[in-house]
């Protein structure tokens, strides 16, 4: 994996993702034991986030620091040369000259791939527009594996904005590298998965079904991946009010679920996932967020050292 770009989760094979998971287990153990690691001492990671981020940027930086490496960060637009009109391409070229690996987040789709074409050093996509968020998808599947011991053979529900949400999209794509028993795509029609995602699921002969409410399928699910249905996606606010209840996950809506149902959420949440779910045995999303550091440690080590 040394020297590899990470643009979409589909750049990886199943066995490569499993390799990342094994390395993540090792990192997790080291963190738990409080070991001081220095496998990336002397390496520099640049973060170039052109869009807001909390978890992704901080967990990448923490991961690099925990491995003994160093971080540089592109300042916000008003404090950097981008305010003078410097292009994205030139910014990446400069970071490529300074750092050993670049993590990019951008509102435009394809920005990370473009960066990878420009940079000689590996580029990791920290989210591009409505498209990919590959490291999030790996964290999500790693959480499933931690919680239930496997990824294959389970029934998944992916709920919310499947059309514009890059986390949900990337999670579904990552699932297609494995053999889920069934994927339920739970969304209002205007936020249904794009045709290329459905095509990918079909190509892999994975059973799937598009449904309109969580209620219909909750009792069958092993994993529920929650994302937010955004008000601004609805031209008519009345339409939004009508459907929002069907896509809001509460302790009440999880009654009738399997006892070991795993609820995931890429965070941040707004009101799609009620606080009363936090106290249930289903809540895995904070542990999911915590796996961001060991998984990104694993990935950085594999990319920079092999």
């Amino acid at each position: 994996m040394k020297g590899r770009d990470v643009i979409t989760v589909l750049d990886f094979s199943r066995s490569e993702v499993e390799r990342v998971f094994e390395e993540t287990d090792a990192m997790q153990r080291a963190l738990e034991r409080g070991e001081r690691l220095d496998v990336l001492r002397g390496f520099v990671m640049a973060t170039a986030f052109f869009e807001p981020s909390t978890r992704t940027k901080l967990s990448f930086q923490t991961a690099m620091l925990r491995l003994g490496g160093s971080c540089i960060d592109l300042p916000p637009e008003e404090l950097s040369s981008r305010a003078k009109g410097e292009s994205f391409a030139d910014t990446i070229r400069m970071l490529d000259a300074y750092a050993d690996v670049i993590v990019v987040r951008h509102r435009l789709e394809g920005a990370a791939r473009f960066a990878a074409e420009i940079a000689a050093h590996p580029v990791i996509n920290g989210g591009d527009g409505t498209r990919d968020h590959p490291t999030q998808a790996m964290i999500d599947l790693y959480t499933v594996r931690k919680a239930l011991g496997r990824i294959d053979g389970l029934v998944y529900g992916v709920l919310g904005d499947l059309r514009y949400g890059r986390a949900a999209r990337s999670f579904i794509l990552a699932l297609t590298l494995f053999n889920p028993k069934k994927i339920y795509l739970i969304s209002p029609p205007q936020l249904a998965s794009r045709p290329e995602i459905i095509e990918r699921i079909r190509e892999r002969s994975i059973e799937y079904e598009e449904v309109r409410s969580l209620h219909e399928v909750i009792s069958e699910l092993d994993v529920l991946y929650v994302t937010r249905v955004q008000r601004e996606r609805f031209p008519d606010p009345m339409e939004y009010e009508k459907v929002r209840g069907s896509y809001r996950v509460t302790a009440e809506s999880l009654k009738g679920a399997k006892p070991n149902l795993v609820v995931l959420h890429p965070l941040p949440r707004v009101d799609e996932l009620a606080y009363d779910v936090d106290a249930t045995q289903h809540a895995w999303y904070f542990r999911q967020a915590s796996f961001g550091v060991p998984l990104r440690m694993a990935l950085l080590k594999l990319i920079l050292r092999g």
Partner: protein, 159 residues
């Protein structure tokens, strides 16, 4: 035989045969030929064809196509054959083929694609998902172009 359509041979120029039926006018438009150039042009449409069922043929006297024009024709008429005529003889016969990658020729339909960002040194690049029906996928953002999208970009709107 008595009903066979006859178009006289040309001395020098290009014959584009096996154009998908009904697309000859797109091919002409894409080549920038309006008829006002004074060139002798024969357009034959919807004639029987063993390969295609029905096909169109375009003959243009006095014009030899360039490579970039040939690749554009492939996107509109993927089965076309191009015959270069000199002195009434076919001196070159090329079957067009849709390349696996189409670079710099088409614009991505997604306004949020990096390739549509002004001021960035990036060329569009599409991977050909299928030839019939034509489907191209942007290598950067994954948005797809259909045959209609490609025609409207290459010939500037449908007619």
């Amino acid at each position: 035989m008595e009903r066979e359509l006859r178009v006289s041979k040309i001395a020098e120029g290009t014959v584009i045969d096996h154009i998908d039926a009904g697309r000859a006018l797109y091919v002409l438009k894409m080549l920038g030929l309006t008829g006002s150039e004074g060139l002798t042009i024969a357009v034959v449409m919807n004639v029987p064809s063993k390969k295609l069922g029905r096909k169109d043929i375009v003959k243009v006297e006095g014009v030899i196509l360039r490579g970039d024009q040939v690749s554009k024709i492939a996107l509109i008429a993927p089965s076309a054959t191009i015959n270069i005529i000199r002195n009434y003889e076919v001196v070159e016969k090329v079957k067009v083929s849709v390349p696996p990658l189409v670079e710099g020729l088409l614009r991505c339909a997604n306004p949020s694609c990096i390739t549509n960002q002004a001021g960035e040194p990036v060329r569009s690049r599409f991977h050909v998902v299928s030839v019939r029906p034509l489907r191209l996928r942007c290598e950067y953002c994954g948005a797809e172009l259909s045959h209609e999208d490609v025609v409207s970009q290459l010939v500037g709107g449908r007619e």
